[in-house]
Amino acid sequence: MSQASNRDDASPNWILQHPAYQQMKSLEIEDSAQVHAAFLVYMDLTEVRRWKAVSCAKSPELQVILLEGREKEGAPVQTVLPLPAHRSLSHQSIRQALDRGFPVLLCAVASDSTLVYQRMTDGLVTPDPPAGPFQDLGRRQHRKRRQKH
């Protein structure tokens, strides 16, 4: 991508001509900002993170483009929901994405193309406990506090 910006005869519309983008365009989603976001996430997953078997699909209930892929060969399929960061989302939409049956990653795309991924799971997921090893501070804490006064 940096090479394209150096060349004078580089087409500024390389995104529009990219086959993956054209495939997404063909799914006929009205929200072009969401399609653009989906494309950026697609490039991140395939080129940067090297995910396998990344494909795009249209979600009729949400009217957005979803991406599906595997982190590694043989890993389970995950759904990625790309959205522009200024958009709003309802809990209902999240449930519809989860209804597809795969683990869902929400990806927020900022205006500078920064990508932020968030895991969404159905049900109550207990957080990981704090990692050890634990050291009993004992009197050290109280000694420190007394020194301050």
């Binding site: 993170r49 959205l83 522009p84 960061a85 200024h86 958009r87 709003s88 989302l89 309802s90 809990h91 209902q92 999240i94 449930r95 989860l98 990653l105 929400l106 927020a108 932020v116 991924y117 968030q118 895991r119 969404m120 799971t121 159905d122 049900g123 109550l124 997921v125 207990t126 957080p127 990981d128 406990p129 704090p130």
Partner: protein
């Protein structure tokens, strides 16, 4: 988790619109039902700190509603004091007690001074044997003390009781505690209804809930009594159709991961079931 229906109701006294519990029995009863509340009062023996607070216990609106639903709470009838007559009587009583205490204490103080004077005079007279003139001097000094001695009111010792006897119910109020009387009229709002549904569902699953103002959510969800566990979840209650800005979602999820709690999106769904979605930081840098 014991859900025994309480045989007697706890008495909730309303301070403006805040539901408060004052009696220790009521606090224990409410805790045994899995409702935590928040202590507000200062403890008389350790007043200048807010790590350990005392009664009254403030109930969350959801807790109050749950108690009402279980018919386990009733509002204490408002005590009518006709034009403050009783209060004036109490003040008069208190002033009279103070006056009596002052008179007793001044008598004792005078006796103390005389005894001290006597000791001082007799000890210095062991060497000099002056019988009559010595006695006369002593007498005159004692009489002078009698005349001139005043007990300053600033030296008055006042007893303050740290165990208040007045927090038990008046007998007539106790008799009229009906559990069937509704606490007060509830204004329904969709967000309030959503929060109450979520509260009831999570409480029914055995979790303990407290308010989560410090973490930007609605409730903190503990797997057991908050005195024994750290919270596992920050519950954010919203209706299924309510749109939430993506940036707010990211902010609360990031906060949750910083404090090692999972953010829980809770929405009451169809058929009274509540839908939960856990948000976790993906860790994908």
């Amino acid at each position: 988790m014991d859900e025994r229906p309480s045989s007697s109701a706890v008495a909730v006294s309303l301070c403006d619109s805040a539901p408060l519990l004052w009696r220790v029995d009521d606090l224990q009863a409410v805790r045994s039902q899995g409702l935590v509340g928040a202590l507000l009062g200062s403890l008389p023996r350790i007043p200048r700190q807010n790590l350990r607070l005392g009664r009254p216990l403030l109930l969350l609106p959801e807790e109050e509603e749950l108690l009402t639903e279980r018919r386990a709470a009733a509002a204490l009838p408002v005590y009518q004091d006709g034009e403050g007559a009783e209060l004036r009587l109490q003040v008069k009583q208190h002033l009279e007690d103070q006056k009596r205490s002052y008179e007793e204490q001044s008598v004792l103080a005078l006796e103390d001074r005389k005894a001290a004077l006597l000791r001082a005079m007799t000890s210095s007279h062991t060497v000099v044997v002056l019988s009559e003139s010595g006695d006369e001097a002593l007498q005159s000094r004692l009489e002078a003390l009698d005349r001139s001695f005043t007990f300053p009111s600033s030296a008055l010792a006042v007893q303050v009781s740290t165990a208040r006897a007045g927090l038990s119910y008046r007998p007539e109020a106790r008799a009229t505690l009906h559990a069937s009387r509704p606490l007060r009229g509830q204004e329904e709002s969709s967000c309030h209804a959503a929060r109450y549904q979520v509260f009831r569902d999570l409480r029914g699953r055995g979790f303990y809930l407290t308010s989560a103002g410090k973490f930007g959510g609605h409730f903190l969800v503990y797997p057991g009594d908050p005195l024994r566990f750290h919270a596992h979840f920050i519950a954010v209650c919203l209706s299924l159709e309510e749109p939430v800005c993506l940036l707010d979602l990211l902010a609360v999820a990031r906060l949750g991961s910083n404090v090692k709690k999972t953010v829980l999106l809770c929405s009451p769904g169809p058929e009274g079931r509540v839908q939960y979605t856990s948000l976790q930081w993906s860790g994908m840098v």
